[in-house]
């Protein structure tokens, strides 16, 4: 048994954290919220992360990638979550994964090298209506030209390629096809979401798209869970640090047992859940029969925890925590995004129950 990160994985996270510390501090992220108008992606930071190699992680070596695993992608997602990085990582890697998992040789050869190199930006359009995220709930069809509405699509406006969930599996829709994009006034301005209306768009089906669906959905769940862990842990650290510094009644508030227990509760909810998201990522890589169940559990538990921890973070900070200026609201809004995308914790728990064969 070796349930830990390798030296290479630790080094990957360290160097990514260094890059983000230098280029994506809290002030930088606040700018995304303070800039009026539609939310935008941070193209400069994304270019740096592309140069760092993030889009190549999960792409096989023969297609110009690094050929690494889900656990590697997940620890990267955790780190991006900790820094609330305003980059189109999630949609891009999921779209890339869809082609890795379901593309024909020709489709892989055509798209993967450019996606791995970050020459193109891609995303995925899965959800419909109020909360129809699972393939058996999708109503759009690519049998003829693609028509209908997809919701909560990450950075569709900037994307060159959209992988669309359809009844037949997965369809590729290129920029310029017949669709319109409307940017939502989304809570989380670090990861803009769009409503995409397809109006007879040309869509090319991924050859093995249908078979790729379960792994794609699981990957989405795991990456969200990992982001949630990174964000929640950051909130715990932030609250603990603040308690050691802020003084009331002539001493630091870290001395007050009531507050200490609030901080302990946050840490107790967060820290052990690391094992769950690691396991979900590892199962995706190595224990296929457990993967969907673990992914649904991780998504439910981690996003539920994250949102609550951001609420607790506000309480632990007092008035400053309730302001627009403070970092907490950025994390709460990312937690809201993580909570909703791919369905609420309740939906994912009921799915996990089905998958457990109960």
């Amino acid at each position: 048994m070796n349930f830990l990160l390798s030296e290479e994985q630790l080094a990957l996270v360290d160097s990514l954290a260094d890059l983000l510390r230098d280029n994506c501090d809290a002030q930088h992220v606040h700018k995304m919220f303070d800039t009026p108008g539609d939310a935008v992606i941070d193209a400069d930071l994304w270019a740096q992360l592309v140069a760092f190699g993030l889009p190549a992680i999960i792409v096989p070596e023969e297609h110009g990638g690094l050929g690494l695993q889900m656990i590697d992608l997940a620890i990267v997602a955790e780190t991006l979550g900790a820094y609330a990085a305003p980059v189109p990582f999630f949609g891009h890697v999921l779209a890339t994964l869809a082609i890795v998992l379901g593309g024909s040789d020709a489709q892989k050869t055509k798209w993967l090298p450019r996606l791995a190199a970050g020459d193109l930006l891609a995303t995925v359009a899965l959800g419909e209506g109020k909360s129809a995220w699972m393939p058996d709930e999708w109503t759009l069809s690519a049998a003829n030209a693609l028509s209908g509405v997809k919701t909560l699509v990450p950075n569709a406006a900037e994307a060159d390629l959209i992988v669309v969930g359809v009844k037949e599996g997965l369809g590729l829709v290129e920029k310029g096809a017949a669709y319109t994009v409307k940017r939502s006034d989304g809570a989380d301005r670090t990861r803009p979401l769009d409503t995409v209306t397809f109006e007879g768009a040309t869509a090319e089906l991924l050859e093995g798209g249908k078979d790729a669906l379960p792994k794609l959905i699981d990957a989405a769940a795991i990456l969200i869970a990992a982001d949630a862990f990174g964000g929640a842990e950051h909130c715990v650290d932030m609250s603990v640090d603040y308690a050691k510094m802020r003084e009331q009644y002539g001493t630091t508030i870290a001395h007050f047992q009531g507050l200490r227990y609030q901080l302990v509760k946050m840490a107790l909810a967060t820290e052990p859940s690391r094992g769950l998201y690691w396991y979900a990522a590892h199962a995706w890589d190595a224990i296929p029969e457990q993967a969907s169940h673990a992914a649904a559990q991780a998504k439910a538990h981690l996003t539920d925890t994250y949102l609550q921890v951001t609420r607790d973070t506000v309480e632990a900070h007092g008035g400053i925590g309730f302001t627009w200026e403070h970092d907490t609201h950025i994390y709460m809004k990312r937690a809201m995004w993580d909570w909703a995308w791919l369905g609420s914790p309740t939906r994912n728990r009921l799915r996990a129950a089905d998958l457990a064969g109960w």
Binding site: L4, V240, G275, W278, H301, W358
Partner: protein, 390 residues
């Protein structure tokens, strides 16, 4: 990253399985008999599967330390419902004796303890010394070559069955609180010791009051130095919290809960199909998986000498809260049976209460919170707490 144990361990697991199969359940089919349990523990120790860290000359099997082998043995014993060789109290005193005892104490006590011929009670808590254990007042005076003991212990688990007690007593009345305490071994089957059982809220009889009225123990029954008992205790307390045992126990309780939810009907269907129950069951499983895989992570970090980080201090309270949540869902499933002590769901009524004893014994949940606050979060020392009691 690798969760399996690898081929060399697969063959070890096969060996353990074959051994258990040959020895358990016992030939006469009675798994409850103490003789059968004793015979199994002795055989397993000879085979090298039990008491692995204890030298052969003290009745152990003296194996190379290997956390993974230990885990495999534990898993296989649990699966076969075979005795684990752990007798409460005994598991706490043996490591303490190994670390602090004199050669004579080790020779005299360890082997019979492992065989179950000596049963120990833990005499730490007193009526006025619970979480604040160092406030204890039971005193011992050295008169000639004997300690004369007077005072009272309370909540002493199994004292009514035990032959001996390891206890903390005040030997230096003028020294500061923590420096006046000594660790003594006492034969409690003597006229100066009175054991009075206390009935638990479960109606079971497990813990006791123990009164010392000029009770005696030889001078050489002191473990560690005089006045240094507090340090000796810290190693006992360290052994009280084992992450893996914690996890194995929670997993088996959860399996029972799923079984219950499938068996009991609600509105003409198995309760597990009720959405609220189904969702809560899944939520509990999410926490259990967090505990399980964080424990594997911690174990792997231990093996590779890496810092476990914040999780180190968390398993006890995490399991306590999980056990409470499991017990409450069972309550919601059994409904009216919840008030029937004579019914077949008694086990769950008991668990509803026993899950609370976990939040008290071995250091209360608040004391765990104090420890997490200081050691895992690095909050300033709180002079009112943070020291774990028994």
């Amino acid at each position: 990253m690798e969760l399996g144990f690898g081929p060399e361990y697969d063959s070890f697991r096969e060996e353990v399985r074959a051994f258990i199969k040959a020895h358990w359940p016992p030939a006469d089919g009675n798994p409850k008999s103490r003789e059968n349990e004793r015979a199994f523990v002795i055989a397993a120790t000879e085979a090298g599967y039990m008491h692995r860290s204890i030298p052969k000359r003290f009745g152990g099997s003296e194996q190379e330390p290997d956390i993974i082998k230990a885990e495999i043995i534990r898993e296989e014993l649990t699966k076969a419902r075979a005795p684990a060789g752990r007798i409460p109290g005994n598991g706490l005193v043996v490591p303490t004796l190994l670390e602090w005892g004199t050669e004579e104490q080790k020779e005299r006590f360890i082997a019979p303890t492992l065989r179950g011929d000596i049963l120990w009670a833990q005499g730490f808590s007193e009526p006025n010394a619970g979480s604040d254990l160092a406030a204890l007042r039971t005193k011992a005076e050295l008169v000639g070559d004997k300690w004369i003991i007077n005072g009272q212990k309370i909540w002493t688990t199994h004292a009514h069955k035990a032959t001996h007690m390891f206890c903390l007593v005040r030997t230096e009345p003028d020294a500061p609180k923590h420096q006046g305490i000594s660790y003594l071994l006492v034969d409690i089957r003597q006229p100066g010791v009175t054991v009075r059982p206390l009935i638990q809220m479960t109606r079971q009889l497990e813990f006791n009051e123990v009164f010392f009225d000029n009770a005696e123990t030889p001078a050489d029954m002191l473990v560690g130095e005089r006045g240094k008992g507090w340090n000796v205790t810290r190693s006992t307390l360290k052994h009280e919290r084992s992450g893996i045992a914690t996890m194995t126990w929670s997993l088996s309780m959860f399996r029972d809960l799923v079984k219950l939810a499938k068996e009991v009907e609600r509105d003409g269907k198995p309760a597990i199909q009720n959405p609220r129950i189904r969702e809560e069951l899944a939520a509990i499983q999410g926490e259990l998986m967090s505990l399980t895989y964080s424990t594997y992570r911690a174990t792997s970090h231990d093996v590779h000498d890496r810092d476990i980080g914040r999780f180190q201090t968390m398993p006890k309270i995490y399991m306590t809260e999980l056990a409470g949540r499991i017990a409450k869902l069972a309550r919601d499933i059994v409904e009216n049976d919840f008030v029937d002590f004579g019914g077949e769901k008694l086990k769950w009524i008991e668990r509803f209460m026993i899950s609370l004893s976990m939040s008290i014994a071995g250091g209360t949940s608040n004391i765990q919170r104090n420890i997490i606050a200081e050691r895992s979060l690095g909050l300033p020392r709180d002079h009112h707490g943070g020291k774990a009691a028994a």
